[in-house]
């Protein structure tokens, strides 16, 4: 009897320690939109075991736009996620939103004009006077006047129609508009749609027309970074590996998304990934390193964002939203 209690206590203690050791740290990842090829790395991280290797249990929540994603991180519904750094900058300039950017994902602007291959719009300089359709809430709309001005055109050089995102492709294919504004990550989808109408498309990325900025980035809630710095660091390390894998093996990455979200077609996703990765792995990331935010480009991004949102550049020190402490060594 004398020895029984300590034995039981030791057993209970060892059981609780082993259960503590085996319980992976839970992390909620916030997407800024629905699952798709452009959101591949987090799915790859789960399927390829990068998060598991860091003892992380990652769950994914879909979002409805960058502002929605930033809000969910700020209110503690999610720990970390991807969203447009421009949305975070605009939010920070107006309110002290407790979210920081920790890893650069798109180092090029994803915005582009899409036209039909037989259109007389061959470069961005050909758009004045043309009918252009865009969706009402895309961040591209704010950058449109800037890219036009950058190319020596007035901000109102095009006749803009705002419509549902799902109607943009059909409007272009049926000739109801001369061009549409969309993200280059959707090139494969528009190409497929054009093919079904016996047509081809031409893409005119705004990054080729002088719009040099960071876009979709890995953001994290300040609370998450402050209260669980080790978990945050392990997460970013695993995420960086997943990004590299996605860039190298888009087909497998497409399969990984399909495994978790059966509605996503693996081939379409792989094509989306190929389009998306041009924004991730490019001359900027080659020079600066994957995921790196440089001071100069952050400042330049803020200049564009401030102008696009009608904010004073003095309203925010753009460096204050960047947290480089989680960057993998």
């Amino acid at each position: 009897m004398r020895t029984r209690f300590p034995r039981m206590a030791v057993l209970a203690l060892s059981l609780s320690i082993s259960s503590m050791a085996s319980a992976a740290d839970k992390v909620v990842f916030q997407l800024d939109w629905l699952p798709g090829g452009d959101k591949a790395p987090v799915y790859v991280g789960i399927q390829q075991g990068y998060f598991q290797a860091e003892d992380l249990d990652v769950s994914i929540a879909s979002g409805r736009g960058s502002t929605d994603a930033v809000t969910k991180m700020a209110t503690g519904q999610s720990d970390v996620g991807t969203a447009d750094i421009g949305a975070l900058m605009a939010a920070k300039a107006q309110d002290d939103v407790p979210v920081s950017a920790v890893y650069a994902f798109f180092t090029q602007a994803p915005h582009a004009f899409f036209t039909l291959a037989d259109s007389d719009i061959e470069s961005i300089k050909d758009v004045p006077g043309k009918k252009v359709a865009t969706s009402p809430f895309t961040s591209s709309n704010a950058f449109l006047p800037l890219v036009l001005e950058e190319n020596g055109m007035p901000a109102d050089a095009v006749t803009l129609t705002k419509t549902d995102p799902g109607a943009l492709g059909p409007m272009l294919m049926t000739g109801n508009t001369d061009a549409i504004i969309a993200w280059v990550t959707n090139t494969a989808l528009f190409t497929e749609q054009a093919k079904s109408a016996g047509k081809e498309i031409r893409v005119l990325p705004w990054s080729d027309a002088g719009l040099e900025l960071y876009s979709s980035s890995l953001l994290a809630a300040d609370k998450f970074i402050k209260e669980r710095p080790d978990v945050a660091k392990r997460f970013v390390r695993a995420y960086a590996k997943a990004v590299a894998f996605t860039a190298d093996k888009p087909k497998q990455a497409g399969e990984d998304i399909h495994t978790m979200v059966p509605e996503v077609d693996p081939i379409v996703a792989a094509n989306q990934i190929t389009d998306t990765m041009k924004l991730v792995k490019n001359s900027i990331s080659d020079t600066d390193g994957m995921g790196v935010f440089t001071k100069a480009r952050v400042a330049q991004t803020w200049t564009y964002v401030a102008k696009a949102n009608g904010l004073e550049t003095s309203a925010l020190d753009p460096e204050s939203i960047i947290n480089r402490s989680l960057m993998p060594e």
Partner: protein
């Protein structure tokens, strides 16, 4: 004489099958227009393309999405009944409550749920409780109004009779006012059940990982228009089935409240 009889019979048969024939005719016309005009699926998918898209999705996935929408719609509907009917009874009993609450209810009903939904998600999180609340917000008003109208329409002489016999308020409510309100309550329930599906879909458009509304939004984002149509038609069929279920419930349990033919 025989000719006349068979003509009458033919007319009766035609009348009986008219809705079905009209529907089939419409689908055939739709298919013909799509084929003859060679419309691409992203402009208007043909019925056969929609059927193919429906079978391209695994049955278990459909059931998963269906259950997500149905559970939220039914929970929202149930919560709505639990709130609306006692609230309507309380408002009819107390003029003070009626004067205080009615304007507030009108304000809540006039506020577009689509605008409030993102705020609810931020406040309550993106799980089922917030989706149920969004559904409830959309469905409770017609129920309150129809129940209150029904209670108000109880004949005064019956109320006077019950009071002259010293019947307690509880009996007056349960045995006189509520039975008179039943036809009105069911009218409200029929409106509310279709709104419940709309409410669940609105909530899924704002935040969800599953559900038919999410599925439609997802399909549209991948430009899979026939698949989105398949989801839409499935949703409409479920909505119709729920509406019919309310009708059957009234027929089975409250047949006396239906108008006599």
């Amino acid at each position: 004489m025989n000719q006349k009889l068979s003509d009458n019979r033919l007319q009766r048969e035609l009348f009986k099958f008219a809705p079905g024939l009209f529907f089939v005719g419409l689908v055939v016309l739709w298919e013909a227009v799509c084929r003859l005009a060679a419309l691409p699926a992203f402009v208007l998918p043909s019925p056969t393309a929609i059927v193919n898209a429906f079978f391209d999705v695994e049955f278990s996935r459909w059931m998963e999405h269906l259950w997500a929408t149905l559970s939220v719609a039914l929970m929202g509907f149930g919560l709505s009944i639990a709130i609306s009917i006692p609230l309507a009874i309380a408002m009819m009993r107390s003029e003070l409550l009626q004067r205080t609450l009615y304007p507030l209810l009108v304000v809540i009903q006039s506020t577009p749920v689509v605008a409030v939904a993102p705020l609810i998600i931020v406040l309550m999180g993106s799980d089922d409780p917030s989706r149920v609340l969004i559904t409830c917000l959309l469905t409770f008003f017609p129920l309150v109004v129809s129940t209150a109208t029904g209670i108000q329409e109880t004949p005064d002489e019956l109320i006077e009779l019950s009071r002259s016999l010293d019947a307690p308020l509880r009996r007056e409510t349960w045995q006189i006012r509520i039975p008179y309100a039943i036809p009105h309550i069911f009218s409200g329930l029929k409106v509310a059940i279709t709104l419940a599906i709309i409410g669940a879909v609105v909530a899924e458009f704002v935040a969800a990982e599953k559900g038919l509304g999410y599925f439609i939004q997802f399909s549209t984002s991948f430009f899979k228009i026939p698949q989105a149509f398949a989801g839409l038609i499935f949703l409409a069929a479920i909505s119709l089935l729920l509406f019919k279920s309310v009708q059957w419930t009234q027929q089975i349990f409250f047949g006396w409240s239906l108008p006599k033919k």
